[in-house]
């Protein structure tokens, strides 16, 4: 039988204090749905596709595998937090300008991961991009455009430095 244990958690959601009563078996995607945040989506359910990516204390995690109870006291950021001031993040702009999505279902996870990548490697080369994003799947296979978007976003974030020469031409 499913446990009826409920637990109240307190955490920070996109910079604002938040609190929720959750079942101890519920995951972070379900937690976010309580707040009507649908950008993190469960797809493969096994942490293999990256559609449910959210940032917890600055680390990218799969929302489908992470129990909601485990984010008690943590800082949770989702795709919906990126344009809170009405301005798109440079990564979001780069995705639009390069046409780096089709159906859009994987896009929020992809964008969060790209932001995470650029935090660590402001000027990534193609191999770093492929490696860092290899846990994010796109069945529409918009991969070439996403790689372009990463380079463009790197430039937008840091316009003075020239981007690493791309070894891939698309």
């Amino acid at each position: 039988m499913i446990t009826e244990n409920k637990r109240r958690i307190h955490f920070t959601l996109n910079g604002e204090p938040a609190s929720a009563l959750i079942g101890t078996h519920q995951n972070v995607v379900e937690l976010l749905n309580i707040f009507d945040l649908c950008g993190a989506r469960e797809s493969c359910g096994q942490g293999l596709c990256g559609c449910c990516t959210v940032m917890v204390d600055g680390q990218a995690v799969s929302g489908c595998l992470k129990l909601a109870a485990m984010v008690d006291g943590k800082d949770v950021r989702t795709i919906e937090g990126l344009d809170q001031d009405g301005q798109l993040d440079p990564v979001q702009e780069a995705f639009i300008e390069t046409g780096a999505f089709q159906c859009g279902f994987c896009t929020p996870g992809m964008i969060l991961m790209v932001g995470h990548l650029l935090d660590r490697h402001p000027q990534p080369d193609d191999n770093q991009i492929r490696g860092f994003l290899s846990g994010n799947l796109c069945r529409c296979a918009t991969y070439p455009e996403i790689i372009q978007a990463v380079h463009l976003a790197a430039e937008k974030r840091n316009p003075r430095k020239s981007t690493t020469k791309t070894t891939t031409s698309f």
Binding site: Q102, R139, Y143, P144
Partner: protein, 771 residues
């Protein structure tokens, strides 16, 4: 009278690479998907599935599940009969029960459903259901199914819905859902005259679309009305089919479709919609069924095939006769398999000018998960065979692979095997552009000439070209409304699942009206409002819906001009449109509604010979060139360069078209190198991304090029035609041909995983790998 928006100078909207209209919604995570829809009082349904491939249901014990705390109800096929007495659905045959009745026909078939407010409760309780079956022998292979004593369906009932499938016959005691025959000239006489006769057999595997938004449907049934929210590529068909099942009229069924998180053919016709309808009617509450990624593998797939191809060739490489025998493994329910068999069947001889052609194409039932449409509608399976075959002919005759294609290519104005004269099909231009981009005339470095003789890397290159006819005859209709302030809404039932149809169709409307595309609002499909469209499939929307929306926009424009005349405005009025409404109605009031409806001409192929003077509204052409490296020590294939060339007419939005080209090619790369549904006694054993490998960032070719040849499709909106599938056609055979070029080994089955490559290589070296 000229009507134009005074606010902008004239721009060519068609041909502009503007971003998708819904771009901001998608990058902010706020785009709507059925996945997110919740209704008050909604129940979740979790499916209990068959564990045997073929069996009679002896009993279903739902006691423990019903007693589980929080369970609302447990529903079986017998319950469904209370609300839908004839619960069989399907686009070609009414062969699929909403929940299994009497028999199960594949592992994973839906047998019962648990309803609960909490999806976790429904999932737990579903595991408590127990079913007893009398197991029956099963048949899995398409060749065996031709003659097997195991008959999957006792009786076949044709649906009679679509005009191209009207001839399907009700039959007993056979697994053949459809047999298609094409005869042109005398193939046997051709073989007798030929200098060389070559025959090869090629096979393809069962694969799954795996849209990242798994299939999901939600129904809200009231006593005389039902609303269905569904991730469907065919809202109009869902409305028809649900109305038929319920014995209701179309206006009692409302189907709403937001954006789709991928479709690729998986979400076509009718999938979960009939089930959620029955469940909501029984529960008298809204019911949602969301499949898991695993469950998608039990729902629909791509046809495995066996294709035996035989050609008679003169000594100078002219193919004078060809015989094609194609067996399509349709799985337990026909879905749209008969259309795949027929429509793809008649192009089985390839884009070549062959005098004598004989085609036999069979759709077969087996005890596998059902097969349906998947990006290409059977064409990639055919091209795999005929383009591998022609490469083998070239090798046998010692003719260059490009040269043999040139000698046989089907040219404009020549008859296709159906007798239809080729028009607007740039087959030759596509082949020549590919040859040019590949630098085919220049010598190619195969790696053996390098100074490092111990290198295990061997390089090769290969090409392939295929073509496809569009499904015919089908209808699209659209509405273009102009509000009193001059703003424009396009209402159509084309589903944007990532291909960019909202944007491309808005561009057509904007072009006709002389306004900016960004000012056109596109309504998501809602069958109460958006008019009929056959479905979003087979790359038909650009041509069919493009014509319909352009007609609707012209109609709206004409009505606007008439309104201006009624209002007594001068003939040279070129002020804002709102001025026309204000003048006519004395305030900001009124609406203009423009309507467009399009169906192309079509002559069905003759039942015994497959001949027709007009078998398609247009042809799609795609060619692929590949340069790759094979590691002879591991069998690993690395795609160094992949070039796609297509004839897609004149692209409406070149950027979106290019994304379609590379996306489709990479998807087919997965079907070529890694993906395969593994079955053990009918059970899919790798129904998960951990064991079923779709392409990721590391799997894309190092260099990709996408090209469109200059082309203007006659009869098309602004010369454009469909493009969503064309770059899939040549991928698999181009790679097989390149592997052969690299290591001298021919692979005839997909996928070509490293192990397959290595085994074939070692077998050829008389040093086979152990099992």
């Amino acid at each position: 009278m000229k009507i134009k928006d005074a606010n902008i100078s004239h721009i060519d909207e068609v041909g502009r690479s503007l971003p998708r209209l819904e771009a901001r919604a998608k990058v902010t995570g706020r785009a709507e998907y059925t996945h997110h829809v919740k209704l008050p009082g909604m129940l979740y349904g979790k499916i209990f599935r068959s564990t045997v491939a073929h069996g009679r249901i002896l009993s279903i014990d739902t006691g423990a599940a019903s007693a589980y705390p929080g369970v609302h109800a447990v529903i079986t096929g017998q319950d469904v009969l209370k609300v839908i007495p004839e619960p069989y659905f399907g686009p070609a045959f009414h062969d699929q029960p909403i929940l299994a009745l009497d028999k199960v026909r594949y592992v994973g078939e839906a047998v019962a459903v648990v309803l609960a407010e909490d999806p976790h409760v429904a999932e737990m309780a579903a595991q408590l259901i127990e079913a007893d079956y009398e197991e029956l022998p099963a048949v899995y292979d398409e060749i065996e199914a031709m003659t097997s004593n195991v008959v999957v369906h006792d009786m076949l009932k044709p649906a009679g819905t679509f005009p191209d499938l009207k001839h399907l016959a009700g039959k007993r005691d056979t697994n053949i859902a459809l047999d298609f025959h094409l005869k042109r000239g005398d193939a046997e006489a051709g073989f007798a005259k030929a200098d060389h006769v070559l025959e090869h057999t090629f096979r393809t595997q069962q694969v799954m679309h795996t849209p990242l938004e798994p299939m999901v449907s939600l129904a809200d049934a009231r006593h005389d009305r039902i609303t269905i929210y569904t991730a469907s590529q065919s809202p109009s068909f869902v409305r028809l089919e649900i109305a038929r099942l319920l014995g209701w009229s179309e206006n009692q069924v409302r189907v709403k479709v937001p954006y789709l998180g991928g479709g690729f053919g998986a979400k076509l016709y009718i999938k979960l919609e009939a089930l959620v309808t029955a469940l909501s009617m029984l529960a008298k509450r809204p019911v949602k069924v969301s499949l898991t990624m695993e469950e998608q593998f039990y729902t629909i797939s791509k046809h495995p095939t066996t294709f035996k191809i035989k050609s008679g060739v003169t000594k100078d490489g002219k193919i004078i006769a060809r015989r094609c025998d194609v067996w399509w493994n349709g799985g337990a329910y026909a879905d749209i398999g008969p259309r795949v068999t027929q429509k793809s069947g008649y192009t089985a001889a390839g884009p070549y000018d062959i005098e004598n052609v004989d085609i036999e194409s069979f759709a077969l039932y087996t005890n596998r998960p059902p097969s349906g449409a998947l990006r290409g509608f059977g064409i990639p399976q055919l091209v795999w065979a005929y383009e591998s075959h022609i490469d083998l002919i070239a090798r046998e005759l010692k003719i260059d692979p490009l040269e043999i294609r040139r000698r046989n290519i089907l040219r404009e104005g020549r008859p296709h095997a159906t007798g239809t004269i080729m028009r607007g099909a740039e087959i030759e231009a596509v082949l020549e552009r590919l040859a040019q981009r590949m630098d085919w005339e220049k010598p190619f470095d195969q790696g053996s000439s390098t100074s490092d003789t111990s290198s295990t890397i061997r390089r090769g290159r290969g090409i392939a070209i295929g073509f496809k006819a569009v499904v015919a005859p089908t209808t699209s209709t659209a509405l273009v409304t102009i509000a009193a302030d001059g703003s424009v809404i396009l209402s159509m039932s084309t589903v944007d699942m990532g291909q960019g149809s909202d944007t491309a169709m808005a561009q057509c409307v904007a072009q006709v009206l002389g306004i900016e595309t960004e000012k056109v609002r596109v309504m998501n499909p809602d069958t109460d409002v958006t008019p009929y469209d056959m479905a979003t499939l087979g790359s038909r929307s650009t041509f069919h819906m493009g014509n319909a929306v352009s007609m609707a926009a012209r109609d709206a424009k004409n009505k606007l001009m008439a309104l201006a005349r009624e209002a007594g405005l001068p003939e040279d009025y070129d002020g804002p449109w709102r001025g026309i409404f204000e003048k006519r109605y004395g305030m900001q009031a009124g609406t203009i509604v423009g309507f467009g409806s399009y169906i192309p001409a079509y002559i069905p192929p003759d039942k015994s010979t497959g001949q027709s003077e007009n078998v398609t509204a247009f042809w799609m052409i795609g060619a692929t060139g590949v340069e790759l490296a094979v590691d002879t020590e591991t069998g690993h294939v690395s795609i160094e360069r992949m070039i796609s060339v297509v004839d897609c007419g004149t692209p409406l939005n070149p950027k979106i078209v290019e994304t379609q080209l590379s996306g489709a090619a990479i998807m087919q790369l997965g079907f070529t190198l890694t993906e395969k549904m593994e079955l053990d006694a009918g059970q899919v054993t790798n129904a998960s991304f951990s064991d079923y490998k779709i392409p990721g960032f590391h799997d894309i070719p190092i260099v990709m090029e996408n090209h469109m040849v200059d082309s203007v499709q006659p009869g098309a909106p602004f010369g454009a035609k469909g493009v969503g599938e064309s770059s899939t056609f040549g991928v698999s055979p181009a790679i097989a041909n390149a592997i052969h070029d690299a290591i001298g080994v021919r692979l005839t089955e997909l996928p070509m995983r490293p192990e397959t490559v290595l085994r074939a290589l070692r077998a050829q070296q008389n040093n086979p790998l152990e099992d």
